[in-house]
C-alpha cells in the first residue's frame, strides 16, 4: 500500500548556511508538513525564524501573527504572542553547541496554496537555551494574507545554520 506522507523536498546541510528554503507546495495536497532536526546556530543566543515563500521568495510583509505556550524545564511557562510581524520566531535564544543537537520541530501548514484563504500553521518544537535549559513552543501562527504560498524559508536572526541540520517538506495525501 502506498503511503500518505509524501516527501516533497529536503535539505541536509553540508556546510554552514545562512538560510534554507524549501518549496514545492502546490495544489496537490491541502496539508503540508515540515520536519526540522539538528538545527543549531553558529552564533550563541540566535533565534530560529521563518517566513512563507511565494514563487520561491520570502514574504516579508508585516502580516504574521503567532501565539505559543512556551514550555521550559526550569520555571513557569509563559505565553508568547505577536501580531503584524514580518517574520515568525520559531524559537527563543538558542545555544550554539554542536554536540547537543539544537532545535527540532514539527510544523503542519494548511491552505498554503489556496489564494482565497490565509495560510495557517501549527508548531511544536524542543530546543536548548545557551545555559542548557530545555525549552519548547506549542502553538500556531498565520500569514494573514490571501496569497499563494509555495514553501518556507528558515534562518537565524544572527549567524548561520550549522552543517548537519536537516529540513524536510512533506505533503499529506488527500
Amino acid at each position: 500500500m502506498a503511503g500518505s506522507l509524501i516527501e516533497i523536498s529536503s535539505n541536509t546541510l553540508g556546510s554552514d548556511t545562512s538560510s534554507v528554503t524549501l518549496t514545492g507546495i502546490d495544489s496537490t495536497f491541502d496539508v503540508y508538513k515540515f520536519t526540522l532536526n539538528n538545527v543549531i546556530p553558529d552564533t550563541a543566543d540566535a533565534d530560529l525564524q521563518f517566513r512563507f515563500t511565494e514563487s520561491g521568495s520570502p514574504n516579508t510583509t508585516s502580516n504574521y501573527d503567532n501565539a505559543y505556550k512556551s514550555l521550559r524545564s526550569d520555571t513557569t511557562f509563559s505565553n508568547s504572542s505577536a501580531t503584524n510581524n514580518d517574520k515568525i520566531n520559531l524559537t527563543g535564544s538558542m545555544e550554539n553547541d554542536s554536540n547537543t543537537g539544537g532545535q527540532n520541530s514539527i510544523l503542519y501548514v494548511f491552505n498554503a496554496n489556496n489564494s482565497s484563504e490565509f495560510t495557517f500553521a501549527t508548531l511544536e518544537n524542543v530546543f536548548l537555551a545557551e545555559d542548557g535549559t530545555m525549552l519548547g513552543n506549542q502553538g500556531g501562527f498565520v500569514l494573514t494574507q490571501t496569497t499563494t504560498v509555495d514553501g518556507g524559508q528558515f534562518f537565524f536572526d544572527s549567524g548561520n545554520i550549522r552543517s548537519g541540520a536537516r529540513f524536510v517538506l512533506y505533503g499529506l495525501r488527500k
Binding site: G3, T35, N38, L71, S73, T75, V126, M134, Y170
Partner: protein
C-alpha cells in the same frame, strides 16, 4: 508513490509493569513517530519513558528533563517541569481501570542514533484522569535525554500498577 512514514515495529505489554521496544531506531531516519494508543492501566498511573542505548542498557541515570502542560477539562491547567529525572515521567497519565478509560500519546523522537547529539522529543496526549470523578485532559510536552548517546530503543514503565498497551514506532523518512 512511496510514502515517507514507515512502520518499523510495535510491542505489546499485557498487564505488566514495564515493557520495551528494542532496536526500533537506526541510522535510516532522524525523526521517529511513536504512537501509544489505548493505554489501559490497572489504576491511575503515569506511563514513564526511558531510552535504551546501543548496548541494550536501559538508561536510568538522572539525565532526563521534561516539561508539559496538563490541559484539564474540569479545572485550571497545570504546568509540570522536572530536570535531572531518571525518566520522562509524564509520557502519559491515565486511569484506565474505569470503563472506557484509556490514555493515548503521540510523540516525535529526534536524533536518537546520533551519538553526537542529545535525544529530544515532543509529545501530546489525550487521556482521562481521576479528580473526584473521571475527567478528560490533554497534554502538550517536550523532553530531552541529556546524553550524546546512540539510542536504539524505548522502555516504558508504570509508576504504580500495571499497563496493557501496544505501542508502535514509525520512521519519518
Amino acid at each position: 508513490m512511496v510514502g515517507s512514514l514507515e512502520f518499523i515495529k510495535s510491542a505489546t505489554g499485557s498487564s505488566v509493569s514495564s515493557f520495551s521496544i528494542t532496536d526500533c531506531f537506526t541510522d535510516k531516519y532522524d525523526v521517529y513517530k511513536v504512537v501509544a494508543d489505548d493505554i489501559v492501566t490497572s489504576t491511575e498511573a503515569f506511563l514513564e519513558l526511558r531510552f535504551i542505548n546501543s548496548s541494550g542498557t536501559i538508561i536510568t541515570t538522572s539525565d532526563y528533563d521534561f516539561a508539559d502542560l496538563f490541559l484539564k477539562a474540569n479545572t485550571t491547567f497545570v504546568e509540570r517541569k522536572v530536570t535531572n529525572d531518571d525518566s520522562i515521567f509524564d509520557f502519559n497519565l491515565s486511569i484506565g481501570s474505569v470503563s472506557g478509560g484509556a490514555g493515548n500519546t503521540i510523540a516525535y523522537i529526534f536524533n536518537p542514533t546520533n551519538a553526537s547529539s542529545y535525544t529530544f522529543l515532543t509529545f501530546q496526549a489525550g487521556s482521562v484522569y481521576d479528580d473526584s470523578g473521571t475527567f478528560g485532559f490533554g497534554q502538550k510536552g517536550i523532553g530531552v535525554l541529556k546524553q550524546a548517546s546512540d539510542i536504539t530503543g524505548l522502555h516504558f514503565l508504570t509508576n504504580t500498577g500495571t499497563v496493557t498497551s501496544t505501542i508502535s514506532v514509525y520512521g519519518v523518512k
